[in-house]
Structure formats: C-alpha cells, structure tokens
Assembly symmetry: C2
Amino acid sequence: MLDVLAIGDAVVDVIAATDDAFIAEAGLVKGSMRLIDQGEARSLYALMGQAQETSGGSAANTVAGIAALGGRAGFIGQVADDQLGDIFSHDIRALGVEFRTPAIKADVPTGRCLILVTPDAQRTMNTFPGASHQLKVAALDREQIRSAAILYLEGYLLGPERPRAAMREAIAVARGAGRKVAFTLSDIACIARQKDAFLELLDSGAVDMLFANEQEILAISGCRELAGALAVMERKVPLLVVTCGERGAVAVEAGTRFDAPAAHVPDVVDTTGAGDLFAAGFLTGRARGRSLPDCLRMGAVAAGEVISHFGARPLANLKELVNP
Amino acid sequence: MLDVLAIGDAVVDVIAATDDAFIAEAGLVKGSMRLIDQGEARSLYALMGQAQETSGGSAANTVAGIAALGGRAGFIGQVADDQLGDIFSHDIRALGVEFRTPAIKADVPTGRCLILVTPDAQRTMNTFPGASHQLKVAALDREQIRSAAILYLEGYLLGPERPRAAMREAIAVARGAGRKVAFTLSDIACIARQKDAFLELLDSGAVDMLFANEQEILAISGCRELAGALAVMERKVPLLVVTCGERGAVAVEAGTRFDAPAAHVPDVVDTTGAGDLFAAGFLTGRARGRSLPDCLRMGAVAAGEVISHFGARPLANLKELVNP
C-alpha cells in the first residue's frame, strides 16, 4: 500500500548559476518554465556555464520528498534507455520510491531541464521533455495505481497527447478503486495553454485536492486577488492548497481557510523545487491524518530545506527537520 | 599560447553522501581510489544513494581551476559519443578550456567516478575509466602541445597501455618544443602498481615539476618521513611540490625549501579535488612568474575553496579569492 503514487515528467535537471545579463541576452523570462525542442536544448546548453546534474521532474521531486519524509511513494514516468535515464531511475529508486515504468528504446532521449539560477535564487527553466512525453496508457501499472491512497498528477503532463491519455486512464483506475486524486497546476504557462483542459478536469469532479501557487490560482480562476480566486476554486475541489512564496501558504477545506507562514530560510540559494517539496510535506502529513495546519507546516519545512541549496531534491534529513 | 595543457582522465563524477557503515559493508577503503569495471560500477551504483553528477577527472579539474583563475588552459582526454561525454565536454569548454579531443564512437562508454563522501568530508573513489583509457597517440594535437608553456600529466593515466603511449609521445613533443613538463603522482594505489614506470619517467629527466601529496612522496621515495623523501626526490626533479592536507604544502627548488600553511576552511564538506585545485592555483601562479611562496598561497586558496562544497570543480569566483 502506497501513500502517494505520482505521474509526472521523468527528467534530469542541468543546473548552472548565471547572471541577469545572460537571461536577458538569451531572451528568457526569469522565473518561467518553457518547453524547448532538442535543437534548442543543444544551443542553449552550449551557452550555459559549467553545470551540475541532478534528477528532477516536478511530481518526481514530490515523491522523492515524501520518501525522504518516511512516506511510501511510487512514481510513473517515462525515461529512455540511456545514461540520463539510468541516472533518473537510480536516484528515485535510491530514495525508496517504487518506480517500475520500463525505459523505452527510442530515438527520443531522456528529457532534461536546463535550469539557470540567478543571484536572486530565482530559477528559469527550459525543459526538453524528450521521452517523458512518450508516456503511454500501456505503461501504466494498474495494480500500482489501485495500491496508492492518493494519485498525484502533474499539470505539465496534461498538455501532450499521450501522457494526457495516460493520466486520464490513471484517474479512472484510481477513482474506480476509491482512491483520492490530487493535481498540481504546475506552471502559469501550462495554464495559458491548457486552461480549458484544466477546468474541464476540475469541473468533472475528478480532483480531490488541488495544488497551485498564487499566480496559477489567479490565472485559472480569472480573478485579480487571492481571496476571490480561493472563493471561485474552492467550489471545484474538496481541498485547495495554494502557496504564496515567502508569504506562506493557504489551505481551504469544507469552507474553512487555514493560513500558515513560510519557513524562515536565512540564505535562499535556488528556489527550484519549492512547490514540489511543499506538496511533499503536505501530502505526507495528509497521508498520516495530520491536521491541515500541521500539513501546511510540514510543507513549509520541506520547501524551506530545498530552497537552501542547489537542486530540487532534498539533501538534509527531512524527517528530522519536520519532526524535530 | 596556452599556460598549461593537461592530459588526463575524462570522467564524470557521481557523488553521493554516505556513512561509515556503508563504506565498511561495501568493503571499501576510505580515502582511496580504485579502478572498477563496468559490472562493478553498475552494482556499486545500485547500492549508492541519490547522487549528483559533475564533471571530474584529476588533471581536468586542475585545468578547470586554471581557467577559473584566468589562466589559458587546454585539455586532452578521451570521452565517448554519449550523454556523459556531452556533459564532460560541455563543462570543460564552458570554463574556457581548449578541449578538442574528438569523442570516440565505441562500445566503451564515457568513464565515471563513483564518489562516496562520508560525514568527515573524506572521499572514497571508485573509477570506471571507460573511454578514458582508450586515449591513443593518434588523438594528440601536436600543435596544441607545442603551444603550451607547461604540459601537465596525470599519473592515473600512466598505467593503462594506450594512454601511457600517448603521454610519452606528448612528453617528446613538448620537450622538443622546449616546453616544461609537470607530473602528478595522483594516488598511492597508482604508485603501488606503477612505481617502476613512475621512477623511470622521473629518472629520465623528462619531468620538470613533480606534484604529490605526503603519502605519495613517501611511497615513491621509500622513505618514512617527509624530510627524507624530499631529499631523495628533489634530486630527480628541478621543482618538487608536496601537499600535506591541513598541515599545508612544501615546495623545493634549487635546494631551497618553502613551507606554506593550508587555507583556513571553517566547514570542510568534501575533500574531492583538493590536490587538483592546489595544482591549479600553483601552476597559475607559476605561469605568471609569481614567487614560490605566492604559488603555494594560490594553491592553498584554490584547494580551500573546492573542499568547502560537494564536487571537485570550483564554484566560487577563484580569481577574487586568490587576488582579494
């Protein structure tokens, strides 16, 4: 029995420190995520400085965090049979996450995310999804989906055709087994492209828990301020969780709103993975039947750890941080 | 015109934090470097925790440091045409190092070094050299060798047959052009295996500068204490440079000995690359005609930076650290 099974991008992060001038010259929008093709991945990489590689992927980071917190987590995502695929598979399994999706032998390599981190700790992400967008319905392990209390889905993967079909099938399997479905809106650019698909999913009643940041919840609700957006969106999902960066996070359930502060982080180095790890802490608490304020606190602690260093996977002992 | 051209292993480091129990259970000797084959690389990797990847290779780390210090550096080393080879090639070029050795299309993949870092900051290295040991004489760029004031060679590569032949040819080309040759003994295990070859090289008068740590200089000299080892070895090379960990470093030239302290590092995290970056600082100073005490100081500062974080390549602005 798993606490959480996630479906998401299976990519390796390629992280380099840079300055604002580089972001401007490369024509990038700081803080954004955009999809790039293999050619652009090659040309951008050639311009980037010396990098370090760590496994990434938004929902994959979340289950990595859940496993690090002692939760039982699984992951479904598509890598290719290549060296980056080996790295991704090794890292997620090394954390104790159940990861069984077979690598594909294909012309499409394992995806990667070229991440530029500026001195203000902001990250600008350029994702070449590669094999990740080749995730098919046939790759789903239905028994594994039925074995998880919560199915956690990444909005990034609701765009491309094959993974969208796989995610819809996974939702049907999970709901058929009486499991809960959680969904993250992932990124403002996803909403711009997929707003109708996202709203259709939410309005179908298929989502029990929605994760978003403030920008995303404003964009999907069409509201100008948070209170209005919460009011619109809480009618669509039983549990709504919104992160607001250094101003903390909010959860709304059954008409009641809970606010919690962000963790105090003296030296924010790289904000990559903040939302992913917030979800990890929150979901771990939820799986253990903790109160909403405690779930919010656990999310804040896990997010605080991951922004204190380069890379979107936790390095410190999260268990000790969350339960000191 | 290059200040330094290095020939060395072209590998990607795979670094994971671990504890002493893991080192003991895996039957490893803490602080050592050993060569492993692909099968063992696979089985050890499967046991390791979540890792991060950064470009490595001893002499490659040294030229990376020289470039970071503003020196003109080149590198000759063999990668395969695969994803790890792309990472190695990208990173060394991103630092401004001239790296032209074509990748080989072969069954042998790019080499990697599985590095386990214990809480005492000690690193235990397990190197699968892969394509690195396929470096052939034909891969040498003779014009590039003639263009460098100093040819810097890594002892690790004097063992395997093909790279040994390439290094010997490179020495002949460099000396024929009136260039200086520097050599590092690399590791105590290399000396155990290659003592005769190392001594033959040194006794031939082909080496102008010898780099070693204390363990290595004792092993090659057959002496029990440093002063004796220095006395034996200074007769073999015009310039002898020996690092002694936190006790600093020594240089002997023309019968005169200079001692310098190590840099003060409040929080030593990972000692991987300490000797490589010491050589980088020292050689950069030497290329600029600095005094031996100043070369030793520059070496200590560069080594101090690299042991303050994970990974064997400098992250901070070395130029500013060395010339505050």
